[in-house]
Symmetry: C2
């Protein structure tokens, strides 16, 4: 059966195709009688309006792209779960993609020719993207950047103050009397601004406490995954002077580190205290539960969607906006033991 | 700046709009000299082809919808991570949605009028959808169903044999000498075929071993989440005759149960052995690591994408196909203790 067209509906209803189009698009200038006739014909032929074609005629796709580095990383999965229903509630469909944190892929996504009218705007959580890449983006693409960087007002950005949050996490470990705190998750400058901001917070906490940083305790890892935390922890424990605490750059890193500590017969937090970052659900149910920095994910989602849709709907130029979201330190068993709330 | 059109490019290149269209669409009948002129004009004007409009002219959107109950459930997040790059590699963009496992929402998605040409096909992992809902689906919608149900050849379905897998998980617990095995995650008939197939496997294992089923050990939970496992476990431990093993209907249920067991000072597996389902990464790094049924997720993704694209590309009617994917039982610390591989 061929798909019925507007013309088929018009023929059956005995009206012009333009009248059918007016009914389908909800325009007012149709008499109730004509409307009823057309609606009956639409029903009878099981006509489906071509939403995309209609949007495109208005210069829109009605679609928003949401792009994260990895869909199966719990933090990003939780973020998507918070973002997608909010975009859908605003009447847009959601295209999803993942970049593997690849800088070239991220940069390509925000270049002018990439989008080909597929989406009206994009929420992007980049890992590798540089400020230079961002400067070269399509100026006509409504874009909201999530995550660890500062925008200086050059683009729309939603995130928490990672340096302050990391400083607080490490200060928490220092306040428990720990003095050999490993920082697990650092990355070379070219790779990750996220990592460097956490390392900056680690340094700041030591500086504020008037304590020196042992550079050998700052450990680089390829990513922020469980396997990265486990591998780094194993190496740290093989040293003659192992750490008495770990600041993991994500909860996954912390969970990987905890797995290795327990395997080696060490107690968490008595022998080694561990704090993570992200407040994913895993860390709330693991034993020990994981102390962490908890960004306010629903506020991040709300702010990002709001900002993007305001930009899509505005016609003129809009200045970039920096939206800083609150966070809290949640102290659980992995730092304060069973007495934890 | 207004978006340049094909006509602008044609004017600048001194050719007809049809010639520009031939170049943009890669058709052969253009001389190298003309092609070069057009390409220069395209570059100069920074022309972007309207991919969607082009697809729509061919009766396609070039988009595929992938719909799961919850984006932030690790099993579905891992499945998406496996599916999306495979769909993208086949040249389609991916629309993602989540249904909260709501039957009405799932049924609406596969009805004729719902899609309005937004996508050329759908991969759907339903929770509540009934066989009757499936029978009433849009017959023209290329659709692949994932998860726990049988298709009887009426539609395309990719999944593992959940009854057999559940039976094996429970047989594993029986083989370790456990005789009071709780089944955590059952659901009333109307809600979840997934749950019922696991309960059927639980019963089958007892039957094969010639052992009676204690009906009071089959516990219903609202969903398959950590909180469900934790709540159910707490109630089971408050009984005068607590279980000596737990079959959790997901790894999340198992992880929630383990959290409560350890909190109460019980040893896993010595006092209570626990097996889960799904083989998500969490269970590999938790302490104890979680024994589980491991479905072959890349084969599921591969089969689903392959089947969907074959159906999109075929013109005539195609018979429904049942694709049964392999699984394995992975015995880890939560059942066999530290000696586990």
């Amino acid at each position: 059966m061929a798909e019925p067209t507007l013309r088929d509906v018009a023929l059956l209803a005995g009206v012009s195709p333009r009248t059918v189009s007016n009914v389908v698009n909800g325009y007012a200038q149709v008499s109730p009688q004509t409307r009823a006739k057309v609606e009956k014909a639409l029903e009878q032929l099981d006509y489906r309006p071509n939403v995309l074609a209609r949007n495109l005629a208005n210069g829109r796709s009605g679609q928003v792209a949401v792009v994260v580095p990895y869909l199966d990383t719990p933090y990003f999965a939780e973020l998507l779960q918070a973002i997608i229903p909010r975009v859908r509630a605003r009447g847009f469909n959601v295209l999803v993609d993942q970049t593997d944190g690849d800088r070239a892929h991220e940069a390509e996504l925000i270049r002018r020719k990439a989008r080909g009218f597929l989406y009206d705007g994009m929420i992007l959580s980049p890992l590798g993207l540089s400020q230079a890449d961002l400067a070269g983006r399509d100026p006509d693409l409504p874009l909201v950047i999530l995550g660890e960087r500062s925008s200086d007002g050059a683009f729309d950005h939603v995130g928490i103050d990672d340096v302050a949050a990391s400083c607080e996490a490490v200060t928490h470990l220092l306040s428990l009397g720990r003095r050999r705190i490993a920082a697990v998750g650092d990355q070379p400058y070219a790779t990750g601004e996220a990592a460097q901001r956490r390392t900056a917070g680690y340094r700041l906490a030591h500086e504020r406490a008037g304590l020196p940083v042992d550079e050998s305790l700052i450990v680089q890892t390829p990513r922020f995954n469980r396997v990265d935390g486990a591998t780094a922890m194993a190496r740290l424990l093989d040293r003659p002077d192992p750490p008495d605490a770990v600041f993991g750059y994500s909860d996954l890193v912390a969970l990987g580190a905890i797995r290795v500590l327990l395997e080696r017969g060490l107690r968490v937090p008595e022998d080694v205290a561990v704090v993570g970052y992200d407040d994913i659900e895993d860390g709330r149910y693991s034993t020990p539960s994981v102390s962490t920095i908890s960004p306010d994910k629903s506020t991040i989602a709300e702010a990002a969607v709001d900002r993007l849709l305001r930009r899509i709907e505005s016609r003129g130029p809009v200045t970039g906006e920096e939206f800083v979201v609150p966070w809290t330190l949640v102290a659980r068993e992995s730092t304060v033991g069973r007495g934890a709330p």
